[in-house]
Each structure stands twice: as C-alpha cells, then as structure tokens.
C-alpha cells in the first residue's frame, strides 16, 4: 500500500461518536476508518459502508460442498467400483444425506472463514499500524486521511469541536505488511522516513 498522513481522534462514548461520524461525512473529509473495541451496531451504516456479501460467499461454498459430496459418493458407488452391499441400491439417497449435510457445513464454514481472513487481510505474521493502543480496549478511534486538499489544523479543530480527545497527526502505512509486534520494523520505518523527506 502506501504511507499516508492521518489525523487521529479518540472518542469515549458511542453517543458522541455517531454524531461526529455524521459531521465528518457531511463536511466531506476522507474518513479512513473508525476502530472500535467491539462491534458497534449501526456504525457501518453511519459510515456509509455497504453491506458485506460474505453470506453469499458462504452459500456458494455450501452448495459446492453439497454437490461435491453427492457427486463423489454416487460416482464411487455407480461408476468407479459398483459394489453390491446387501442388495441395496447403488444410489441410496437417504443414506447419503448425513455425509452430504456434513460436507455442506464444512465447505461453507471453512470457505467463509478463509474468505473473511482474505478480505480483512488477517493472517499469522501480518502486521498493521495501530493508531492508538487502546483502540482494542475502550476507545473509539476515528482516523481521517489527509489529502492534498485538507488542512491538518482545520481537521484537528473540527474533530475537537465534534467531541474528540487526544487529537494527533500520524504518518503511517495504510495497508498491511509482514512483521512482528514485539519489534519495530526497520524497512517500514525507512519507508516512512523517505516519505517524510
């Protein structure tokens, strides 16, 4: 990704955060993200994010599982090695239901979790910039991206008026990189320094 400049503001209370999000959007600032320690219901709508399609992906993975199980079992019993098991039919659909169901669930669950991790760029070894250490504890952290058109001081006073505290400016990598949380990342820091220069 890229190193960008941000203005960061902290909120204590959802009741202050919601109107602030609305104000930032109407003012036309580029809202990078809001980091919250728990899922705040309605915040995604307030920020104007579109609904996730993860459910649809789950459904597609599920029917893939269904067809895999049914076609594989019927191929084995009818084509590859037709075996007479106690005179039972070669396509015993009721006896196929348990495994078909299990594979549907398995495919849907595994597929969805992997898609979730891919979409959110989550993986062991992945590192991302943490704008404030308490964003996973008790603070709601609003991050506004500074573009060429925005004035940092103006954004700061705007955020202060909206009820934010501890407002500061940060230069950070907006995406993810491979790194360890116990170490500062040398190449990453150099990248920021070059951006500063």
């Amino acid at each position: 990704m890229a190193v960008k400049k941000f203005v960061v503001g902290l909120f204590d209370d959802e009741a202050v955060l919601f109107p602030a999000v609305k104000k930032v959007r109407t003012a036309g600032y580029k809202l990078h993200d809001v980091y919250t320690p728990f899922p705040v219901h309605g915040l995604d709508h307030a920020m104007g994010l579109r609904e996730t399609s993860l459910h649809t992906a789950g459904f597609i993975y599920g029917i893939t599982g269904t067809t895999t199980a049914l076609s594989f079992m019927s191929w084995v019993f009818n084509v590859d090695w037709p075996l007479n098991i106690g005179g039972k039919p070669h396509f015993p659909l009721p006896a196929f239901i348990p495994i078909t169901f299990e594979l549907t669930v398995l495919f849907a669950a595994v597929g969805m979790v992997m898609t979730f991790c891919y979409l959110c760029q989550l993986m062991p070894g992945v590192k991302k910039h943490i704008f404030h250490p308490r964003q996973t504890d008790d603070k709601f952290v609003m991050v506004i991206e500074l573009t060429e058109k925005t004035n940092a001081e103006e954004v700061k006073s705007f955020l202060a008026a909206a009820g934010a505290q501890d407002i500061n400016e940060q230069k950070a990598e907006a995406g993810w990189w491979f790194g360890r949380y116990d170490k500062d990342d040398e190449p990453y820091l150099r990248k920021i320094q070059t951006a500063n220069a």
Binding site: P39, A46, G58, M112, F116
Partner: protein
C-alpha cells in the same frame, strides 16, 4: 442515547460498576499475572493423568486390543461409552455459542468462550476412543475415502460409522473455526496492552493482525451469524449420527426411532453440567463472579432441568415401547436385563442421577445455590456416563444365545485410557484458563451498556416515559 433498551426487570448480566476499560482489566489481567498455586497443582495432576493415559494406550497398542476386557459378546464397552459421553459434553458449548446467539440470549456472552473451549477439548478426547478401539491404530487412515492401490476400494458411504467420521471431524473443525474467529479481537486486546516482548510477539501472531476496523467488525458479525446458523443444525446432526451407530443396528435396546432426539437432549444435559463444573471453579479462581453471575448459573440450571426431564421421558417411552411393541426380545432386554439382572445396578444409578436428582432445580433457591449446582453438575455427568454404559452394555451382555451371555468389567488399560482423556481435557482447560481470555471481552462490552448493573440503573428514566415518546426518540436518534 443508546439504541437498545432493556427492561430493569431483567437481571443485569454484568454486576458491579464497570466501564469498558474495567472489563478489559478484569478479564485480561489474569493472563498477565503469574498463575496461583492451585493452578500448578491442578495442572500437574492433569499432566500425570495424561501421562498415565498415554501409558495405557501404549500398552493397548503394544499388546493388542486383547488387554481390554471386551469379549465376543460385549464388543463395545468403556471405549464407546466414553466416546459418546465426551461427544455429548461438547454439545453444550455449541448450543451456547450458536443456538443461543440465534435466539438472542444475552447471557451467553458471559459463558460462551469457556463453553466453546470445553467443546473443542471434549471432542478431542472423544475422537481418541473410536481410533484407538480399532485395535490396529496404524490402519486408522483406512476410514478416509482416499484413492488407494487396492482397486481403489472405497469406504462404505452407507455405514453410520463412516457418517460418524464425517460428523465428528466436521464438528471439530467448525467449532474450532467459530471459537478462534471469536478469539481474534480479544487476542488483539491482549497484544495491544502487552508489556513484555514475548507476549506482544505471541499474541501478535495469534491475533492475525486484527485492528478493530469497522468494516472488519461488520464482516466479523456476518461471519459469526452464519457460523452460528451452520453450527445449529450441525450440533443436532452430530449426536443424531452418533445415535445412528446404535439405532440402525438390529440389537434390541438399540433399534429404536427415539434415539436421535433422546441422544441430543442427553448431550445438552451432560454438556451443561460440565460447563457448570468448569465455570464454578473458573469464576472462583479467576475472580469472575461479576461476569459469570448467579443469573447465568440459574439459566443453565433451567436448561439442565428441561433436558433432564426430556431424557427422563425418553427412558419411560423406551420402557413403554418395550412392553407395547410386543417384541419378546426387546421386552427381555429392558425388563429382565436392563432394569434388573446382573448389570441392573447401572440402570438405577442412571435413573437416580439423571431423572430424580435434577428435579431439585425446579426450585429457584436451588438453581441459584453454587454448592448445590456444583454437586448436581457432577451427579448429572456420572448419570450420563451410566446412560451410555447402560445403553451399550446391557443391550449386549444378554444376546440371543444364552451360552454366549457374559459379564463385563473394565481392565486397567481401559480405565487408564479414560483417565488419560480427563488428563488431556483438564491440561487443555488449565492452559486455556491461563493463556486465553476466558470470557469474550468484546462481546461483554457490546452488551455492557444495556445489561451492566450500573447502566441499568440509568434506564429508569426510560421506564417512566411513554412508549410513543421512546419510539419517537429511537427513530430519530441519529
């Protein structure tokens, strides 16, 4: 104003004066401190048991399955009893995390993490038994439908035993994914407040780089909801399929259509009892009484008395059908060799522990009594172990041919193997209690402002205003 309002008549889910930071502090700080003496004692007892179990399994594999006291009449004994018992225990975790999520039961947030952990450890224990009881364990991979050089000869997809392979492995995988996806945000919380380098590194890896972005939370919520929707039929299917191992056979005492619902109810019954056993100790040791309240225990005791009564009805239905079905063999199994006969004592232990004693939970005072709950939770699990023993052994030990009638008592490797799984279960649980957030921190925070004790006091303003005004205010809140 907060969007969701909850009546003050409902008991708070979090006691005491809490804010978000205090919740983090209360739940995460045991991870950061040194474990107490009791933890070490418990952990080493568990490790010893695990070691003894490993030795028993080694003994059985080295000398063959003949070291067990199974015989030609009783081909399934402690091994399958323990398998069904452990799988059953796992079911409560999924019920709490999935079914109660769909039913929007707020109280699940306090107990779901530990209950799901219990599910995973219990299924790990359960899985050992069918594999080890195969005898030639090194051939265990034959149960997988993989292309082989013997034809390929495939597994029999009509067999309930194979359905079990798919059911248990799917159940384990999905439970693990569900549990871990819920853990990601909490690991990130531990990571961001970590003071030592090692902790920052390890929890940094475990948290997968979670930041708490709103978009990620939105996807996380969608994922949890769909996983809950998938786990709900899954958990019902797993014990249904376990019951098919018996119900699709032609053994009197096993061949009954009542088995699937009866097994599922029994599984939830024993699982909740195990959750109670674990959480009563955990809340005491980690000082989490404000998060796992008497209200939580009462709710779980209600489930116990309900499912216990369902199981009781199933026992009576079985007896009735054995008489009403007019099958002399089935009648003999139930009335001559199960409720009476050389193994009859086990039937009456089962009846006492599962049907009679749980009835104390009809009384509110008993449901909210920690000591009574703890003792009852152990009684229920003894009873549920005997239920599986009764179903398996009393149906087998008197078969159609009186000359092959036999008696069964376990040998030391069978007992040792069972104790070993206790060792595994508690070793895992002790490690979990020390290194993992035992309560879902983020989920507690999400319900704190509606269900926390100090926030509920502020609800009285809304209690007094008219419904129209409240609805109007909510509609124009943002």
């Amino acid at each position: 104003m907060h969007l969701k309002y909850e009546s003050t008549l409902r008991e708070p889910l979090v006691d005491g004066v809490k804010d978000y930071h205090q919740v983090t502090e209360d739940i995460i700080s045991p991870i950061e401190g040194k474990p107490g003496k009791l933890w070490y004692v418990g952990f080493f007892i568990s490790l010893t048991l695990l070691g003894f179990g490993a030795f028993s399994v080694f003994w059985q594999i080295y000398f063959g399955v003949g070291v067990w006291n199974l015989n030609k009449t009783i081909g399934w004994g402690w091994d399958i009893t323990n398998f069904v018992w452990w799988v059953g225990i796992g079911h409560a975790g999924t019920l709490i995390s999935a079914i109660l999520l769909l039913f929007r039961q707020g109280w699940r947030t306090g107990v779901n993490r530990a209950a799901e952990a219990m599910t995973i450890f219990a299924v790990m224990c359960a899985g050992q038994f069918p594999i080890i009881h195969m005898g030639r364990v090194w051939m265990a991979f034959f149960i997988l439908p993989y292309p082989n050089t013997r034809g390929p000869v495939w597994v029999n997809f009509n067999s309930p035993l194979l359905w079990d392979v798919f059911a248990i492995s799917t159940y384990f995988t999905v439970s693990l994914l569900f549990w871990y996806s819920g853990l990601l945000p909490d690991f990130a919380t531990v990571r961001d407040r970590a003071k030592t380098k090692l902790r920052k590194l390890l929890y940094g890896v475990a948290a997968f780089g979670w930041t708490g972005s709103t978009k990620h939370w939105q996807r996380h919520e969608a994922l949890s909801l769909v996983l809950a929707g998938l786990s709900t039929p899954l958990v019902l299917s797993v014990h249904t399929i376990v019951s098919f191992d018996f119900a699709t056979s032609v053994i009197p005492g096993w061949h009954t259509t009542i088995f699937p619902p009866y097994f599922v109810a029994g599984a939830i019954f024993s699982g909740f009892a195990m959750v109670q056993t674990l959480l009563i100790i955990t809340r005491k040791v980690l000082h989490l009484e404000e998060y796992i309240t008497l209200g939580h225990m009462e709710a779980m005791n209600k489930v116990i008395v309900l499912t216990g009564s369902v199981v009781g009805c199933a026992y009576l239905t079985e007896l009735f059908m054995a008489w009403y079905g007019a099958n002399p063999y089935e009648f003999a199994t139930f009335f001559k060799y199960r409720a009476a006969g050389p193994l009859g004592w086990s039937y009456w232990i089962m009846m006492t522990c599962n049907v009679i004693t749980p009835q104390v939970f009809w009384f509110r005072k008993m449901r909210r009594n920690v000591m009574v709950t703890f003792v009852m939770s152990i009684i229920v699990n003894i009873g549920m172990w005997f239920e599986r023993f009764v179903i398996i052994c009393t149906s087998l030990y008197r078969d159609y041919l009186p000359s092959s009638w036999a008696y069964y008592r376990p040998s030391w490797p069978e007992v040792g193997f069972y104790m070993g799984t206790f060792g595994l279960f508690f070793t895992c649980f002790f490690l979990f209690a020390k290194y993992f957030p035992v309560i879902a921190v983020a989920e507690i925070k999400a319900v704190l402002k509606t269900s926390g004790e100090n926030y509920k006091e502020k609800m009285e303003v809304y209690e007094e205003e008219s419904a129209e005004k409240f609805a109007h205010d909510v509609a124009h809140a943002h």
